[in-house]
């Protein structure tokens, strides 16, 4: 029962990470390349959604619309609330990565006739992804745990199930919560392992990066 409920956490995790990735990439690119207006807007977005507590966002996106008769299912509301929040954090990881790439590479790409967009897609983004992975795996371990917050809007995720178990059989309370804790240890561990594997795999030969071993 707990394991099946964990699947909901994993689904929520994937959905919110994906939304965060999409929005975060756009926000980061706008912040770096968007010019003054779009850049300020993007920076403002990142600032706002990193400043509001996750629980407040959850309540806002779930109960807010329902006041006007718009009922958003808990899963969707949680995906939007946590996804937007994550996109704000992810955007700053990507922005740092983009800015770490020497500007000369952009100039070199433009000087051979690439458009700005072509240069961003073929030269900047592939490198930014590699540089983001370390920071991104940090964000991953943080949002894995945030999925339990969706409990408060009534999503049938793992923490809620532990609570149901406790309500029915109080003698199992300790066991239930220890089980939930263990589930998250495994989730975080396996996620971080996969990410550091990816980091090693994508490592550029000759460039020393965190977490990799040098083999030049």
């Amino acid at each position: 029962m707990l394991l099946r409920a964990t699947l909901i956490n994993i689904e929520l995790l994937l959905a919110l990470l994906l939304l965060g990735l999409l929005l975060g990439t756009i926000v980061a690119l706008l912040q770096v390349y968007g010019g003054r207006f779009a850049g300020t807007l993007a920076a403002g977005y990142a600032w706002v959604f990193r400043s509001i507590p996750a629980l407040v966002l959850l309540f806002l996106f779930y109960f807010g619309p329902s006041q006007f008769g718009i009922n958003i299912p808990p899963f969707i509301a949680a995906t939007i609330a946590l996804g937007i929040r994550s996109s704000a954090y992810q955007s700053q990881i990507f922005r740092g990565a983009i800015q770490a790439i020497p500007q000369g590479q952009m100039m070199a790409a433009r000087s051979m006739g690439m458009s700005r967009l072509q240069a961003i897609i073929t030269i900047i983004v592939p490198q930014a992804i590699r540089l983001s992975l370390a920071g991104w795996s940090n964000e991953f371990s943080s949002v894995v745990k945030d999925t339990t917050l969706a409990y408060v809007v009534g999503l049938n995720e793992v923490l809620r199930h532990a609570r149901i178990i406790m309500d029915r059989h109080y003698e199992l309370a300790m066991l239930a919560y220890v089980a939930v804790a263990l589930i998250f240890l495994v989730l975080t561990y396996s996620g971080n392992r996969s990410l550091s594997w990816l980091e090693r795999r994508l490592r550029i030969p000759g460039l020393q990066m965190k977490g990799g071993t040098q083999n030049t």
Partner: protein, 249 residues
């Protein structure tokens, strides 16, 4: 008609006017060397030619097409002008072969296999056909600069602009880059080179331009510039620079 014509180029950064009306013409197959003290706008001038730094005033034509025209297709025109940077600017996530072929694929729309073949040919020309799989961080500075020359060559440009191509190199690595450049000049490539390498200038330049404080002070053939400069500053500068850098090429 000259291949490259720059007319009255002005560029200002804040209060400082870096270029105060620079004009020059370059014929097809010619090698022109631009010399002058640091901070006199030589690099800015090169960047004004391919519009990496758009000039405030003045016009540039490449093969009769105006590069500074607001409605020109600047990407298409840039593809016809190679640019070799002082600090190479290779793409760090691509190996040598892909550094050279990516422009062919993305800009010229060439098929991958054809781009690969052409890239290999150009890398052979700069003597790096044994380093196809190496990444920039695994190459020496001299090798990186030769890759970047191959990258420019592969686009089959009408001319190549060189922005102090050997200034970031250890002295023992300068020779291999100059060797490639001398060969290019002999093969008839049109080149506009900003450099302090007087040996190179003497050996291959058809014309030397001396720039200072944002203007061209004097220009002429190497013989004239080295043996009988008209302007006293030209002579002073040439003496000083030859003393400092020697003549490696």
């Amino acid at each position: 008609m000259s291949l490259l014509k720059a007319e009255n180029i002005h560029k200002r950064y804040g209060k400082e006017e870096v270029l105060k009306g620079v004009s020059l013409e370059l014929e097809r197959g010619e090698t022109m060397v631009v010399i002058g003290p640091s901070g006199t706008g030589k690099s800015t001038f090169l960047r004004c030619i391919n519009q990496l730094t758009p000039p405030d005033k003045g016009r540039v034509w490449l093969d009769g097409v105006e590069v500074t025209h607001p409605k020109c297709n600047i990407n298409k025109l840039r593809a016809q002008m190679g640019f070799v940077f002082q600090d190479f600017n290779l793409f760090s996530h691509l190996n040598t072969l892909r550094n050279v072929s990516i422009g062919l694929i993305k800009v010229k729309g060439m098929r991958k296999e054809d781009a690969r073949k052409l890239a290999m040919k150009e890398l052979e020309r700069v003597g790096l056909n044994d380093k196809l799989d190496a990444y920039p961080a695994q190459l020496s500075g001299g090798q990186q600069q030769r890759v970047s020359i191959a990258r420019a060559l592969a686009m089959e440009p009408k001319l190549i602009l060189f922005d102090e191509p050997t200034s970031a190199l250890d002295p023992e690595l300068i020779g291999e880059v100059l060797e490639v450049m001398i060969k290019l000049a002999e093969d008839g490539m049109t080149m506009l080179v900003v450099t302090h390498e007087m040996g190179f200038a003497r050996a291959v330049a058809d014309e030397i331009v001396f720039m200072e404080h944002g203007v061209i002070v004097e220009q002429g053939s190497p013989q004239q510039m080295f043996s009988a400069p008209k302007h006293p500053r030209t002579g002073e500068f040439l003496n000083k620079i030859t003393e400092l850098y020697g003549e490696t090429a």
